[in-house]
């Protein structure tokens, strides 16, 4: 029996709300009559449309080509006709052009037996090419193009490849279900990643609240005699943040301002590795993903396999609609997700969840003066003092806030969540970083 690890500093134990969906099988959501596919679904530059109004597209066809050094391809989730190219706001508040496709014609993949492709004989280059070609990006939130992440910087070596199965955000259970229902695909995806990165160690980090997922992955690793170590982790948010996961699994800290590769680590989450498997073995682009639809206002919470470009309104409708007054509709987890007000906002590659939260779940409250309780300081996994940073930013002391570690803030939300005075600490950090950037204090 191994002792469960975790990261040492801060962290919180919010109500999990996972019990609602953790046992629900992933089911296929209805194919929407229209898909709204943003060309910016990744970190970096938006893809450039390769189709125009009136064009016919096939399922999985390239509709947006990566441009610039950091970018990713975008594919059509459904067969049909391009009805328009429309500008819209993504949940993050960023503007993007979206290709709107009306469903029409025949599916190339849906309903047909997938054809398996062997990958053992492929070179690293070829594997990276397949990943790039099929538009695989990090599906945990940062959306960094995977082919770029796996193309290590010169002189850097990957010692640890870590599969992130934490899913530490409350409510979410899509990745939990993927590990339980599709361990073969995920483990094979991990093997492909290992073939590219050639790490010394392959690790899987899964929180203890998913014993069935731990068991499923462990069993498979044993059956196949793989050199993969599964680490059960103590439940604590934000363990799914790569900085904390690296600390928990490797016992090492990523230097301030650095990335995991600085300590030899590459971290990918379950959905990403699943997409990687599909790209390489099924030659399938990222045109769908698993989304948890939950929250007390939703009639029938569920885990759905959803075509990219399906609207959030359609997803909620598919889960029985809203049965209670929803105070917030959230795209993503409750700790780092964004609210949306337009239900025609589409699901993108990084949409892990759609939550309709009631006032009773949100616990919003009037802002009061800071009572110096220190909850924010004790909850910060980065060892920052959010109350101090907030005051510095409030007083426009941006240089001092940077000196006190503003750039290290990962915006995980622990401080704001814990604050009894409901001070918008994370919002403060975000705007502080923005100003610091424009003043040249931060890169």
């Amino acid at each position: 029996m191994t002792i469960a690890r975790t990261f040492p500093r801060g962290g919180i134990h919010p109500e999990e709300h996972k019990e609602v969906t953790r046992k629900r099988h992933i089911w296929n959501a209805a194919i929407p009559s229209h898909c709204i596919v943003p060309l910016l679904q990744h970190a970096g530059a938006p893809a450039e449309a390769t189709v125009k109004r009136g064009d016919r597209v096939r399922e999985g066809m390239l509709i947006g080509r990566a441009t610039g050094s950091i970018s990713a391809h975008v594919h059509s989730p459904i067969p049909g006709v391009v009805t328009e190219l429309r500008d819209l706001f993504l949940p993050s508040g960023v503007r993007s052009t979206a290709v709107v496709i009306r469903l029409e014609g025949e599916f190339d993949r849906l309903g047909k037996a997938p054809q398996r492709h062997e990958w053992a004989k492929l070179s690293r280059r070829e594997l990276l090419g397949l990943i790039q070609e099929h538009g695989v990006v990090g599906m945990g939130g940062a959306s960094f193009p995977t082919h770029l992440k796996y193309r290590l910087p010169r002189g850097r070596e990957c010692t640890h490849l870590i599969l992130n199965g934490c899913e530490s955000e409350p409510y979410l259970s899509g990745e939990h279900r993927l590990m339980v229902e599709h361990p073969e695909e995920i483990v094979e995806g991990l093997q492909i990643a290992a073939a590219i990165l050639r790490p010394d160690h392959v690790a899987v980090g899964i929180e203890n609240n998913k014993p069935d997922a731990i068991a499923a992955v462990q069993r498979l690793v044993k059956e196949r005699g793989l050199d993969v170590r599964v680490y059960p982790l103590k439940v604590k948010y934000p363990q799914g943040d790569e900085k904390q996961l690296v600390r928990a699994v490797m016992g090492e800290e990523i230097p301030s301002g650095g990335s995991p590769i600085d300590v030899g680590a590459v971290v990918s989450n379950v959905s990403t590795v699943m997409a990687l498997f599909e790209a390489v073995c099924l030659r399938k682009p990222v045109i769908e993903r698993v989304v948890t639809v939950s929250g007390d206002a939703v009639a029938n919470p569920a885990n759905l396999k959803v075509r990219i470009g399906t609207t959030i309104g359609e997803l909620i409708q598919e889960c029985g609609g809203l049965v209670k007054e929803a105070e917030r509709i959230v795209c993503g987890g409750p700790m780092m997700g964004a609210t949306i007000t337009d239900l025609s906002t589409p699901v993108t590659k990084d949409t892990s969840a759609v939550l309709a939260l009631t006032a009773a779940e949100v616990h919003a409250g009037e802002e009061t003066p800071c009572i110096q309780c220190g909850r924010c300081v004790r909850s910060c996994p980065m060892g920052l003092e959010p109350t101090l940073l907030y005051k510095l930013i409030d007083h426009r002391e941006y240089a001092a806030s940077v000196e006190n570690g503003l750039a290290d803030c990962v915006e995980c939300g622990c401080c704001s969540y814990s604050c009894p005075a409901r001070i918008p600490l994370v919002e403060g950090m975000r705007s502080g970083k923005q100003v610091a950037r424009t003043e040249g204090l931060l890169p």
């Binding site: 900085k243 909620i316 917030r328 007000t341 616990h363 009061t368 969540y417």
Partner: protein
Amino acid sequence: MSTGSRSAPVTVASSPQFFDSAHTRRIMWTVSAVLTPAAAWGVYVFGIHAFFVLFASIIAAVIGEGVMARILNRRTLRDGSAVLTGLMVGMTMPPAVPVYIPVVASLFAIIVVKWTFGGLGSNWMNPALAGRVFVYFSWTPAMTGWTMPSTLPQADAVSGASMLGLIKQGLSGTGGHVGSPLRFLRDAGFPVSTTDTAVTDWLNQHVLHALGFSIPGGYVDPFLGNIPGSIGEVSAALLLLGTVVLLARRIITWEIPASYFLSFALLTWVFGGARYGTGLFGGDILFQLFTGGFILGAFYMATDTVTTPLTSAGMLIYGGGAGILTFLIRFYGAVPEGVALAIILMNVFTPLINRYTRPGRYGLSEGRR
């Protein structure tokens, strides 16, 4: 409701999208609520005047808060902090104190200690305790005249004194040879309730006998609150009950009470007996914990978030320091209790403690900066 109409909620908010149920207002009102049984006990054993004292303290605090908030154009009464401060002032008053004294204490606490520094969250000293200390030094006779609880047999020889006050007098009277505090009090004619005798006998016969020891009479009265003292400090039992709620709801954390208790208990055990003439390692911890407002201080006053350090390490240092100061004042100082003074003295050190107990940052190998 349906989503068909595309009507979505209008809340646009930055992450996170949900919060811990703890809220400033809820914290303040919960602390007030769990203090109420101990305050009610004070009214029960000391009489209706104790109620007027509590009432006047709260009203004065609320009026003070209302006036200051009005002047500064803020809305603060609903946060509950003024009621809590008033209640705490009242609970630290002697039961028979003239009502104008708690009124002055509350007004001083709210207007001078709290609002001249900017209101809730900005004061650097615990308002209730600062208010109490202010009137203690202003009207010392009135603030040191105690009432026997109705649950004790009346004893003229010791009327008007508190247990710790009697012991402090005894220290000069006996040339520093008080001996065991309980025995000293018995010899001075301090009464014991029939409840104390009955409970002590029962404990000795049914519980402690099996463990091979027994306790003398006299501990049960201070535990239950059958002793003279401030209105809200006497019932250690009811105060401890309230702390269970505060700890369970994570309104207070364990660090300050634990380190306060440990340092005070350790010093009392090692040196307390020496001071009373019975040698090292013989201090009466239990007696010292249940008297002189220790429980009220350690669990309710020393845990005031505004005036205490931010980190666990800082809180442990703070509590430890408060324990040392309480011991020094109570055993060697001029004041018999020492809790209030120790806490507000430690308040002064809070910024310093914060400075030296900043959390270690992730990813900075060679310490800070």
